[in-house]
Amino acid sequence: MKRRIDLNEKDIPKQWYNIQADMPNPIPPPLNPATGQPITPDMLTPIFTMNIIEQEVSTERWIDIPEEVIEKYLIWRPTPLYRAHFLEKFLGTPARIYFKNEGVSPPGSHKPNTAIAQAYFNKVSGIKRLATETGAGQWGSALSFACNQFGIECKVYMVRISYNQKPYRRVLMETWGAKCVPSPSPDTNAGRKFFEQNPEHPGSLGIAISEAVEDGATSKDSKYSIGSVVNHVLLHQTVVGLEAYKQLDMIGEYPDILIGCAGGGSNFAGLFLPFARDKIHGKEMKIIACEPASCPTMTKGPYVYDFGDTAETTPLFAMHSLGHKFVPAPIHAGGLRYHGMSPILSRLLMDNLIEARAYGQLETFKAGITFARTEGFVPAPETNHAIACVIEEAKKSKEEGKEKVILMNWSGHGIIDLAAYDAYLSGKLEDYVLPDDEIQELIKDLGKFPKP
């Protein structure tokens, strides 16, 4: 029985796989709310280079990975595929569980798969500097690493509360030569108005995005870089699934179930998209996206063209949401969602090629602890959502007495997130179950107020 399945360097994928060539139904393009017409690629030129925009809209099935990108990928790729024997034994399951360890990259997650590609394509387009935002620093550290590899500058707007309270990823960014500033900052128009009101403003991801986009669009020789959601990011991440496909093939396995955690969707998509091609052509498999129960983008809500606000002024995008016109009261399930899932995943979900499940916070940390105490590796908190699902499916396999093959993307390690584990282990994340009728009562009260 093989514990670890490795690819040789020469077997690293030479092309990314573009699911848009095989999707049964294409992704509806983003629409301009004023005209109802698709937003054209040239509208993106202030923030992305043309080679990246071409990938964003491409329907070519295979897109070559430049030699220079492969050379950098080889710093940590191909990543190992592990058989989770100890977890299987602990669960007493007949299922065979495999996990693709993306935590071995220098920043510790799958994020540099696209960061390296984006840094390269910007570099060859003459761009000398990239701007981005980051929450706790996972994406910011990946882009800092990538920019350093290609000798371009990197400016990261890090949400101030993270900047102050979670210094290790900031130190990582600075170690790789990036300039990391707390957001809101005085460096942009978007940040200045908040900064001048309160220099200690804790910030938010929304403000940080505004600062980074403004910087990328208006600074000399600069562009903006994004770490999830959009098509070209998902494309770059397919290197994960393409490797896993080969690794399983080496040992004569094929997954019955593919599992990944989905925030914006890029790590999950990176794993399953190459397999989804087989599913589109008739192969049977279950593909499960796992999301936080507190913000269930995919497990609730229909697929609609929707405005981002009630004033109907923002562009229309086909995303999962309840649609603002269906929101009868301010606090409604639809209003609690991030509304931020990748359009590709949204479309595949509607076409029943993937399914989604939501997991509560305590359940996911419990799963992460189980994984760490069996397989040894400490997962990132996001990865724990996938592990919770793996455990659920492995137990089901046991109940049914079926030898299912389960493949999971282990998207990153949690060594820089130990404070979250500490909170869980010391009981600070205890639950208090609030009856839903109390929330309904609040909805009723708020419904009395006029709509803005």
Binding site: I39, G135, A136, I161, H332, K448
Partner: protein, 80 residues
């Protein structure tokens, strides 16, 4: 909410870090994060907290409509 409750912590899936309740309840220009109910409803009586500390208009401002997606926000920023 007492000071003790204000310092209760939760793992924020959006930021990717542990944060205190005080951030969730004030990060939006003094108003709560629009995800506060979903994230905290199993941890504390968040509805009572909202009713006690914010007016209906403030809550409507926070929770009405849908949050903008990353792509929506970016396109909007480019156009502005």
């Amino acid at each position: 909410m007492t000071d003790k409750e204000d310092s209760r912590t939760i793992y924020c899936n959006q930021l990717g870090m542990l944060i205190e309740f005080s951030y969730c309840s004030t990060m939006n220009g003094g108003l709560p994060c629009r995800n506060i109910v979903g994230c905290w409803k199993q941890r504390t009586d968040i509805v009572a907290f909202l009713k006690k500390n914010f007016t209906g208009e403030e809550l409507r401002k926070v929770f009405s409509g849908l949050p903008k997606s990353r792509i929506e926000r970016i396109i909007e920023l480019i156009k502005s």
